[in-house]
Symmetry: C2
Amino acid sequence: MGKNLLLNAFKKTTYQLAGHGVRNINILKKALEEIDDELESDIYGNGMVIEDFEKKMAEYLGKESAVFFPSGTMAQQIALRIWCDRKGIKRVAYHPLCHLEIHEEDGLKELHHIETILLADKDKVIQLDDVVHLEEEVSCLLLELPQREIGGQLPEYKTLEDISTYCRKNGIKLHLDGARLYEILPYYQKTAAEICELFDSVYISFYKGIGGVAGAILAGENIFTEESKVWKRRHGGDLISLYPYILSAEYFFNLRIAKMEQYFNEARELAELFNQCYAISTTPKQPVSNMFHVHFELQREKLEPILAEIYVATGIGITSNLKETSMDTCSFELSIGDRYEKIPKENLRQLFQLLDEKCTI
Amino acid sequence: MGKNLLLNAFKKTTYQLAGHGVRNINILKKALEEIDDELESDIYGNGMVIEDFEKKMAEYLGKESAVFFPSGTMAQQIALRIWCDRKGIKRVAYHPLCHLEIHEEDGLKELHHIETILLADKDKVIQLDDVVHLEEEVSCLLLELPQREIGGQLPEYKTLEDISTYCRKNGIKLHLDGARLYEILPYYQKTAAEICELFDSVYISFYKGIGGVAGAILAGENIFTEESKVWKRRHGGDLISLYPYILSAEYFFNLRIAKMEQYFNEARELAELFNQCYAISTTPKQPVSNMFHVHFELQREKLEPILAEIYVATGIGITSNLKETSMDTCSFELSIGDRYEKIPKENLRQLFQLLDEKCTI
């Protein structure tokens, strides 16, 4: 009941802090509106629709070539498989909260029989030291930038450079889980290509910060991407038509790629507002992308009716659900998109005043 | 040059014998036109859009439940994997020209490590005798109805019943590759559910006879489909949004499911016209679905300019490419869709008169 209370109150709000909006059919319709009806479908990975977009993304990432995939799950397993086959060692290293470890039903192990080494404490990002002290040989190290499950944290840029140099020297391929790559460019003050230069293979997504329907790109050298196409077919991802995802990816990429700095600044502003409230804090304290986690020093069951009441009073929805992190604490993830800019400053001021007043321990 | 000659001539024709039309963006736009903009996306396999369609297809197939997949390649590998895991024997049997054997880059072997036994001569359909004389134990037998690569041939219905009975007695799961299941119902004079009753698991497709954008359904008992969802995630097929495929599948299913008898009758009529021509024949002689192969007793290089000329004279495109089957013969595959009914009878009469006259050995 508590969860429905919050969700229901959230659904009735006029404004919301996070995201671009409801994921409805209109997103696809909007993306297709300006497209010529006669434009021909891609056919099993070939055709202008897919080839042009792959080329455009390869250039954006500064890689020789790129392949469009229906999902990141598929793209990343395949990247790691190729690097393992290349070196003849079926072992990779990544963070304990890596997407492949916790969200993919162990596809990497069940389908590809690849062993994994979990690097770093789960609450920290991977450092050079973790890589240097690897006890077993691995074919590939996967870095997720930002590390989503801990609020979107990043290592120093220097650390990335050092890890890249170390991996190149030691024959370890470096793969980037760049599901939120665009979102970190304002913090690092780098281009996508500059960051990707440190990596041998890169995956990016089109439905997080970009807000498309679905889909992913895997990029690297030609020989790597060509091999990835064979595995894409094996996985059942070489669909006769991927254009619904490609066209929407391109549309929303063009629409939002220049807004990443705004999202980043808004995330910093918003995190500061949360951190000024009693019993509320964020991770990271200063966001390094458009996302962060918000922690409450309150029982979830106690907090939910308070939030629901604040939603009604201010018209602003903060979150639709809370995750219990201990008996007395709870949290939620927040990613800034197009919705935040639509909130009147006066409502926002009222929101944080109420939060500070009502969230008492 | 020869191939381009035929393709270019084909592209200029007003009418075409095969298919529903060009695979362009308009197909998706049409399917979305009547859909409410506010309809919410499916989210990782959940939500009204996907659940309602899965329920509808389960009912149509007479199975307990159904799962929507981005592709048949993914759905079928997963079906066979589940049956192999269930029995503890990683071996299945299917036809030498099975889709999994020739079009999937050996995904079944590379990802699932499943051995295959090829049953029957490649020019024939699988008979009960082939199954009875299997020399090694298998977990599953896959039957493709109709057998596409040999012109869409079918066994007698009695044979299907006998194979099903035999498999059930002998602990062999029977899986249906029903990529073209709707298309054979008029010949067998059965419902989809009646045919599927003979099988433990069933895959159907939405972009062949139905003419949708892409997508597949895998159906069976609850325990089977639930397990298939875990593998769908492992394969990278559990996308955040599959609705572009689902909505178009549903739209074109509703539009065309009642037309399968018409396509079947037209295929029979058209095959007869081909068979009356000198040096031309079809496989099967009498189609058992909407498809068949057309064989020419002519060198491809000799035939191409003849066909191109006939396309210009009649305005009808027969095929855009020919497959060389020997030094002196060639062929192509033909599947009837919405285009055939639009051809004026007079043009068709002229077409076959010219074919009969010009295709001389």
